[in-house]
Symmetry: C2
Subunit: 202 residues, 2 copies
DNA sequence: GGAGGTTGTAATCGGATGATTACTGGGAAA
DNA sequence: TTTCCCAGTAATCATCCGATTACAACCTCC
């Protein structure tokens, strides 16, 4: 008996579709292993295509990584802008915009590799091209919080700090230890509440 | 005219001295480039010895990295325990222990690579050996804050979050942009005040 | 139906990297 | 002086990785 035809398109993709598919996969692999730890072959296998095709489509591994973090930053800002607009449309004008941005940040954890690939780029500040892009991206988030969302420097610092702790718990894949280590469970509960299930490793 | 004899010992080191020297150097190199990005040859050259000697002394690159982060964690806990003891000896009993631990954490920035090499390990949670060691180390810090320092889960979370933001600014080498980008200067001031000069890139 | 552009791969190359082996030199003790 | 251990290196190896080249399969439009 032949298996039911799952929604598996074995037709050839357009270059644009394939590019998006590679970016999705590369986001996850770079996020897990980092720029140097991830190989173009791992990305290619995970995407179901050949290694040369990956590098030819983006020109180089570095260009692919830069595209990944650029796309992650765009996803993040788009989520933030949407959340801020919703919050302003329905919320009271005297609340804290961070109350809207925080949940948006957690929802983004469903998209694989956004937080971790950005974080991996943040740890490569000494690299000429990647460091430049990473600092630019981070400062763009800072400018959004300060200028568009109108958050004070102190509150913006606190919001970013919370985000960085979440990113670290994602990089650590801390939920792996949640069942066996009470300290891990306590840490995850204090940081993410019941949203810890969205982290990698869960 | 021969140059004045700077304190340069060209005699051979004992294995114990050399081991410490390699750990110092490896801490800086791993902190900058990460586990996969750093090569044993880069570490050897920076330490002024040959690449095979580095590998032979620690058995493997992975064992060297594990020794680096183990030593970084030990430095961190030692600083924290000393700061906590001082604070308890002279301070009032009703203050916040984080007020003592925070400055100790910043002073540690003078030791090259402590924050960044730990942070690099935190981003390798999916690696069997490194991820295990990274989670163990992070949970040991958490246990110190909760049990030894007696800090509440909420306050400990906030303290760690601040630390992770500092680590990210170190990984980004954000001071590189402090002069040319007002946003970078504002972010650094809001996070570290005048202690931003201790970050890499300054 | 065939011509041409586009998606995609097999084969392969050169360089980098971690590791291994065999060796050297110096200093202290006998 | 000779012996012998220990710090340290030169040479080299096998593997991996990113990149290049040449080629194959497929779809579309005339």
């Amino acid at each position: 008996m032949s298996s039911a035809p799952v929604d598996q398109l074995d037709r050839r993709m357009t270059a644009v579709e394939r590019r998006e598919a590679i970016l999705d996969t590369a986001s996850a692999v770079f996020g897990e292993r980092g720029y140097f730890g991830a190989t173009t072959d791992q990305i290619a296998r995970a995407a179901g295509i050949s290694q040369p095709y990956v590098v030819r489509m983006f020109g180089s591994k570095e260009a692919l990584f830069l595209a990944v973090i650029e796309r992650a930053k765009a996803s993040l800002l788009q989520s933030f802008r949407a959340a801020l607009a919703d919050w302003r449309a329905e919320g009271p004008a005297d609340g804290d915009p961070c109350d809207a941005l925080g949940p948006a940040y957690l929802e983004l954890l469903r998209e694989r590799g956004v937080h971790t690939s950005l974080m991996q780029s943040f740890m490569q500040g000494s690299d000429p091209a990647i460091g430049r892009a990473a600092r630019d991206g981070f400062l763009e988030i800072w400018a959004f919080l300060r200028d568009e969302a109108g958050i004070s420097p102190e509150a913006a610092r606190g919001f970013l700090a919370d985000g960085m702790l979440i990113n670290v718990l994602a990089g650590l894949e801390m939920p792996r230890d949640a069942a066996s280590r009470p300290a891990a469970a306590e840490l995850l509960a204090a940081t993410l509440g019941d949203k810890a299930a969205l982290l990698p490793g869960a």
